[in-house]
């Protein structure tokens, strides 16, 4: 029972990952293929869009940690936006908040990415 794919968009040196409604172990495959496309395109900023997400389990959060680790090691700056307050709390509990910056929305990410490009 999977629920949607991760999609990617590129705008200059900014890469966006649009997460689906459910972020679980089943999200792994499309998350990595979308991320790999952005990595190949050598984006300098990675933005994780959780606007559509309303269910994230521990496997989904583990997946986000893996993506953020990879992006950080490759020298990318990572943003997240659209996170419901419960998931901000969980991200904080697992230490993700120290490895990414929250943005209010896509517009703010674009402004900040421009500073990083």
């Amino acid at each position: 029972m999977a629920k949607g794919d991760v999609l990617f968009r590129q705008e200059g040196t900014l890469g966006l990952l649009d997460f689906p409604r459910d972020v679980t172990a089943q999200t792994r495959e499309t998350a990595y293929s979308a991320y790999n496309e952005l990595a190949r395109a050598k984006v300098r900023t990675l933005a994780l869009n959780f606007d559509s997400t309303d269910y994230m389990n521990s496997a989904g959060i583990g997946l986000v940690i893996s993506l953020v680790e990879d992006a950080t090691q490759a020298g990318r700056k990572v943003f997240a936006f659209g996170l419901a307050s419960h998931y901000r709390k969980l991200f904080n509990m697992v230490g993700l908040m120290e490895r990414l910056s929250l943005a209010a929305d896509e517009q703010e990410v674009k402004t900040k990415a421009a500073e990083n490009s």
Binding site: Y55, N57, S58, S66, H86, M93
Partner: protein, 160 residues
Amino acid sequence: MTTAPDAGQNTERVEIFLPSTLGYEKVARNAAQAIAEEMGFSPDRIDDLKTAVAEACMNAIEHGNQENRTASVTVLLTAASEQLEISVADEGLMPMPDTFPTPGRPGEDNRGWGMFFITHLVDQVEFTRLPKGGNRVRMIIYLTPPTDAETTSTNAQQPQ
């Protein structure tokens, strides 16, 4: 399996049997939400509970029952005036370990945060290997939550 109401005068009990198929943890999560809302828990605490219940059910489905179609997960929700208790039991095709590994397994997509969430998001939690086989996770949240100090230091127990 009996469906007689709980002995306690002021408790109400809901019993749910789930198939061992990933995704069905959401049935228990939604059921817990309905009861917690009726009891008047705050939206934040309900979110915490939903995550804990979903993780306990996922573990029962994935680990305890090995996603085996003939095994089921039993979820008991017991509402009392001041607390909601939720127990999740599986058939123990894989017994729970004595100690849980450090959360986050790098190289394996950082899996392994479920137990961490369960123990940190509810007020009390107890892991038990049942004498007749099967693993059980019992979680309690209180309408008037204990102080932070109590919560973080005394809630987690390994299986006995």
